[in-house]
């Protein structure tokens, strides 16, 4: 009997999601391999920027967690200026360790935090990276909210960031 109801619940959920598939925003961020003698993984901030350049939603902040290395967060200078300086780190579901070279995929449900709070309007996803003894770079991909049609936008960094792709699924 217990088993039966569990199956029923799963079926019901499947039916639900079938009727209204959850909209999402997914992002692929490439940290490029660099031909340098001294390499450190970059600090990266990813956020949604409002039309006035304020932070509408923080999506991810990657920095060195071991030791007190929050000292270098202001080097993510655009993020820092726009609101990173008001953020208490570490923050649940937002901050994490630095990532290695390669593609990193992030996915956010439109019905959940932090996207659920977005008001309709023009936004941009910003990916900013800064590397110890290296440089800084920010890549922006504009988009409109809420998601009306499936869309894929790409951009590319020139040094500190590789390909960045934004996929919007209504």
């Amino acid at each position: 009997m217990i088993r039966m109801s569990r199956v029923a619940l799963v079926l019901a959920l499947a039916a639900c999601s079938g009727a209204a598939p959850a909209a999402d925003l997914s992002l692929s961020v490439e940290i490029p391999q660099l031909p340098v003698a001294e390499y450190h993984r970059p600090y990266v901030a990813i956020w949604i920027e409002g039309a006035d350049q304020s932070i509408a939603a923080n999506l991810a902040v990657w920095y060195q967690l071991r030791g007190d290395h929050t000292k270098w967060l202001p080097d993510l200078r655009q993020w820092w200026r726009r609101g990173g300086r008001d953020l208490k780190v570490p923050a649940d579901g937002l901050t994490g360790a630095t990532r290695p070279v390669g593609q990193h995929l992030l996915k956010f449900d439109a019905a959940q935090a932090p996207l659920a709070a977005l008001k309709p309007g023009q936004y941009a996803v910003v990916v900013e990276a800064v590397r110890e003894v290296g440089g800084r770079e920010a890549v922006r991909i504009p988009f409109e909210w809420p998601i009306k049609a499936a869309k894929r936008e790409t951009s590319k960094g020139s040094k500190e960031l590789g390909a960045v792709a934004l996929s919007l699924n209504p």
């Binding site: 929050t70 000292k71 967060l73 202001p74 655009q78 008001d86 208490k88």
Partner: protein, 265 residues
């Protein structure tokens, strides 16, 4: 002993009265929320920001934290061409680092020889002899500042109500290249019109000319500066009037200088 002291004073005085640019140079102006240490150099040198002339005396150094409480400078050191100190900043918000004094300067002749003296208003009676001839006395109000913020910059208010003060409309730790910042200047606590403000970018030794930008304060005491590029900038404004507050003194000279870091976009 007394002769020695007089000699020492007369040797010191020209350094103070020379018009070398006074500046405080912090090692950084923006710190993460966890706070940390900042080192500050203090010098009087025309080349911005090369400490190649004289050290700035730090007798009237005062550092005020975001909570309004004083912060004690540490590792204070004075070398020939600069003074320096460390600050440990733990509270989030803005720290005002200021060297400010209110003094009296006097020139006169005694037995046909030129003399000069500098001290506080209270010391005037003992500092200037009664038989001084061709006596010229003036009050000098000097303020040299810089600002450092931990995390988000916090509001800055006027502090003294005397001399020239800066009340930023745009926070001095929130300045960016190609953007325009408004600053308001007060004289004796009131917005001051028609003050001439000079702004010079650091690195003057690597340019043919200092290339100052000059501004005149409007009726609200405000100027609007558009920063041509990122870097350290030095600002100065001064005035001379007949509004001395020391009894028996007519002329007052007030000056304000500050160092700002303009950040990249």
């Amino acid at each position: 002993m007394k002769i020695l002291l007089v000699v020492a004073l007369t040797m010191l005085t020209p350094v103070i009265s020379q018009a070398a640019r006074p500046w405080l140079l912090p090692s950084q102006t923006v710190l993460a929320r966890s706070g940390g240490w900042v080192a500050v150099d203090a010098a009087m040198a025309d080349d911005l920001f090369s400490f190649n002339q004289g050290a700035m005396p730090l007798d009237s150094l005062a550092v005020v934290g975001p909570d309004g409480q004083p912060v004690a400078p540490q590792n204070l050191a004075k070398s020939r061409s600069r003074a320096s100190f460390d600050l440990e900043l733990r509270l989030a918000g803005t720290y005002r680092i200021a060297v400010a004094d209110d003094a009296v300067m006097a020139r006169w002749e005694e037995d046909g020889k030129p003399k000069r003296w500098r001290g506080t208003a209270a010391e005037m009676a003992t500092g200037i002899p009664a038989n001084a001839t061709k006596l010229e006395v003036e009050q000098t109000q000097r303020r040299v500042e810089t600002f450092v913020s931990v995390g988000s910059p916090s509001a800055l208010k006027a502090v003294s109500g005397s001399g020239i003060e800066l009340v930023p409309v745009q926070h001095p730790n929130d300045l960016y290249a190609h953007e325009t910042a408004k600053f308001r200047f007060l004289v004796d606590g009131k917005p001051a019109k028609d003050l001439e403000v000079e702004v010079i970018a650091g690195g003057t030794r690597y340019r043919d000319s200092p290339d100052p930008q000059t501004f005149k304060t409007n009726q609200d005491g405000e100027i609007a500066i558009t920063w041509p590029e990122a870097g350290m900038y030095w600002l100065e404004v001064s005035l001379e009037d007949e509004k001395a507050t020391v009894p028996g003194v007519k002329t007052r000279r007030a000056s304000y200088a500050a160092t700002f870091e303009v950040l990249t976009q």
